[in-house]
């Protein structure tokens, strides 16, 4: 294994302490026979106001990573979370369920994938949004909480919020419902929003509106956004930095401009090659094979080697470390040899 040259250990520029820093996160899910490692060795940090993308194919562990941040896996018999999640100088993995409840919605909010089903059909939407400030005691009375809900509905662009707050979810279109879900996420005034594919269920035009909205709200409130997506177009246009995930591991991490200009991991390169570019007629290159199912992830070596054109002997044996400069890191033997 080639050692990293010392100049790659440039000390990071002195920054304010990270809002969130995840170190060596592992999430295992219990199957009938053994614990399956679904997320392995995930480490990253986020600053206030940063939009970080978590990119990867379906089933590669993106949502599970996010659920682990919220403490929604691992507290039951189905899974196990190891590693460290530091958020605003607190170690989230040490907190009790009760303490985590105080954080969910208030400090870390979740905007879910499917706005069509994540609102309870039997309550008016205003009451559901008001639940967040009420639950976290940001308001003294239910009426105040309703006022807060209406203000947030207004801020996410729902016309006539005072009237619409009394409507039930079915009375809203998909885009409007996603705005509602976002306003629900924001009404606790969180420092971090985890948006799990917030636009997957929406039309492309609505998609742009919703992402613009998230972008504006980030500017207004200074919250950080962890955007989970499989859409590289979304990453290119709206995110500051991106992490590419494959089979539960982060294989490449870089600022978005750098990642798109200079993709280094073969998986990232393949991903970019399989996205059509309007105006350019070039053959798309699908990635051969498919991402391994949870139970088929090889226990050693690089999980991408089976689909990788550059696979070599070393890939069979060891998983390469995530190495590189302070800003651009990649986990690939090919890259390490070149360096």
């Amino acid at each position: 294994m080639t050692r990293r040259s010392p100049r790659e250990f440039e000390p990071e520029k002195s920054r304010p302490p990270a809002l969130l820093s995840v170190d060596g996160l592992r999430v295992s899910l219990r199957s009938r026979t053994r614990m399956l490692p679904a997320v392995q060795e995930v480490s990253f940090s986020m600053q206030r106001g940063e939009i970080l993308a978590l990119v990867g194919e379906s089933g590669c562990g993106k949502s599970l990573t996010a659920q682990a941040l919220l403490g929604l896996v691992g507290k039951n018999s189905l899974g196990q979370v190891e590693g460290s999640i530091r958020f605003k100088d607190r170690e989230l993995t040490d907190l009790s369920e009760r303490e985590m409840r105080a954080i969910r919605g208030r400090e870390i909010a979740w905007v879910s994938q499917d706005p069509m089903t994540s609102l309870n059909p039997v309550y008016p939407v205003g009451a559901q949004i008001a639940e967040v400030p009420w639950l976290h005691q940001l308001c003294r009375t239910r009426n105040q909480a309703r006022g807060v809900a209406e203000r947030w509905m207004d801020r996410v662009g729902i016309p006539d919020p005072a009237l619409r707050a009394r409507d039930y979810p079915f009375a809203f279109s998909g885009g409007m419902r996603q705005r509602l879900v976002i306003s629900m996420g924001l009404s606790g005034e969180p420092d971090l929003i985890i948006a799990d594919e917030p636009t997957t269920a929406l039309d492309v035009t609505i998609q742009a509106q919703i992402l613009d909205l998230l972008h504006d709200l980030r500017a207004q409130t200074g919250c950080a956004i962890l955007l989970i997506t499989h859409d590289l177009g979304v990453v290119a246009q709206w995110c500051d930095a991106a992490m590419v995930m494959y089979a539960g591991r982060i294989v490449e991490k870089a600022p978005v401009g750098e990642l798109l200009a200079n993709p280094t991991h073969p998986y990232t390169q393949n991903l970019l090659a399989s996205v059509p570019t309007p105006g350019h007629r070039r053959p798309l290159q699908p990635i051969p094979g498919q991402a391994p199912a949870l139970e088929d992830i090889p226990s050693r070596g690089c999980p991408f080697r089976e689909r990788c054109a550059l696979a070599r002997a070393a890939c069979e044996v060891h998983m390469p470390d995530l190495v590189g400069s302070a800003v651009h890191r990649v986990a690939c033997w090919d890259r390490e040899v070149k360096a």
Partner: protein, 284 residues
Amino acid sequence: MVDSFRHAGQPLCPHPSAVAGLVVLSLLGLLALFAPVIAPYDPFALSGNAMLAPPGPDHWLGADQLGRDLLSRLLYGARISFHVAVLSVGFALGIGTLAGGIAGYVGGWIDQVVSRCVDVLFSIPDILLALAIMAALGPTLNHLVLAIGIVYTPIFARIARGAVLDLRHADYIEAARSIGSSPAAILYRHVLPGILGPLVVQTTLSFAFAILTEAALSFLGLGVEPDQPSWGILLNQGKDLMERAWWIAVFPGLAITLTVFCFNLVGDGLRDALDPRVRAEKRA
């Protein structure tokens, strides 16, 4: 826009038939409640003069072969019918919802045990099961309540289990967890309202079935004690005299039909009123 409609807040108003059903049922309920005050005669008093008297000014609905006033007997019969219906459906609702709800929420072997018991109860025809229980226990009012209660328990268990299972993995329950709601709050705010609609509807419809079952069992001689003026017993006594005195069988039959019909009207209305989607269509 239809916005002005949406805040009417009177869920049953667009369903005049359900309101009518409710009014009639309330009237019947009051009549049953105040039967001792309203009834013109003692329902057990025999009268030699009035034997098989047809409906007329003295006996509005006529009298039976022993001269007992049919109206008075029907009013007292309503007490029995409502008594049995309310208690037995209450029993079924309580036990069934609890068992089904726990089975759905906890899952695992508890769910297996409850579900298999429900399947076994479901596989026996209602009336046969009730007959068997009554034959084993003997015909008294309390046994009748128990028998009908047991017969309708699996329906509630199945509804509650299905609804809870549906909800347990609903995205909005997950969303509630992700905003920091506690499990108790989730059960109260999200699971209970979600299963309440189908349960309320089923309760109303079950009242109708319970009244029918009570009448059927009493008709067959395995209901309340034969000296009680239950609607089923009145029907039974009237059947042999149909050619000579039609009123003895027809009026109890009408009473049963009217009550069951009204419960069904209210049940259907409630089903529509409690479903926000149907509510929207009606208003659109």
